[in-house]
Amino acid sequence: MTVRHVDPRAAVPLAAYALLATPPLRALLETAMTTHMLVQLPLLAALGAYMAGRLPATLRRRLDGCNAGGLPFMLLALFASAYWMLPRALDGALNHGYLELAKFISLPLLVGAPLALSWRRLSVIARGFLWSKLLSMLVVLGWLYSVAPTRVCTNYLVDQQVLLGRSQLMLALLLGLWLAGRLFFGGRPAGVPDPGGTWSRHSWARAPRNNTEQSNG
């Protein structure tokens, strides 16, 4: 993401990033556990994913060179997102400036971008694995947070934790419906190889020209 190579259209995500990082919006999103987890973190990752689509071709090729099958970078995104799933990481970001900085750097760079770079290279099975992991994670955490009697984050009230849990369950339901809907209407039958069809139409990282559509993550 060196400044010299930045596409003019990258100005919007950069502005969005700056907005997310400045106190008014940052504080607003961090006052509630739900917006912190389900809005701020995904938005940061999404910005990274968007920017990954704008990488200069040479850098992109070099990165692809060590990302066979999309697996190494997917691993990177999984590890980095696993860290930010730790309740104490969330507390840490609120209590310590250096962890907040780490959050703002690592989510776009180590979660969003590698996922975008990997997505189209991943096999159908690997994508299915990611979708099911996301779904099961949302359900398990959502259930846990809606019934846990103690707070997992010392910075948030227990009712916010319950709200987060219910939001996660709702999100999982919607995501599940959407995935099922795509399968039944306009998708291809499960298990059939997808040569650049439905599944890749929704990928995060695309050639710069077509990148105006919404990401689905």
């Binding site: 060179g65 990302n67 066979a68 190494p72 691993l75 590890f79 309740p87 104490r88 009230l157």
Partner: protein, 204 residues
Amino acid sequence: MTPRRRSLATAVLVTLIGTGVLWWGTDGFNAFTAESARRYAVRTDPPVVPVVLLQDQDGRHFTLQDLHGRLVAVEFIYVNCPTVCVALGQAFQRLRDALPAERLGYDVVLLSISFDPRRDRPQRLADYARRYAADGMAWRVARVADEAELALLLQTFGIVVIPDGFGGFEHNAALHLVDRDGRLVRIDDYDRPLAFAAQVRARL
């Protein structure tokens, strides 16, 4: 190197560094929440409690250092607390009853500290003390005399207090043990006061 080998090397590197970061971030897969982290931290590296002026239910001023040479069990409360502090109060009652009576007040002191000093004046602290039959000797109920020192005390003990919007507070509740040298050595669940009592007895 071929792309395949480079990819393998990347994957291995990512796994090693990723596992390392998760290891670091959870104190060796021991603490996944900030609450468990503070409990783990005091056990491995007990912090010295700060010199903070307290005032008890009888209006007496003292510091934690005045209790040097004695074990001090500490809990953080506020008098108006309808929920968790009731459980804390009862936990302290059971702790007191589980400790040898002749050592209470001499070798070991129970101390409830209010983090709402503005409202919890000695008068109200005395109300709280009466509720649990805290005698002011073996069990003292106190507030921070100088509100400016409250933050330091809470930070050392790892207590995060958030107003709940209804005049009360949400706070992490636990039983804390300060040893004879004034170091915070243990933090345990308040719903297992007898296990905590065993810890205290082992140090008597």
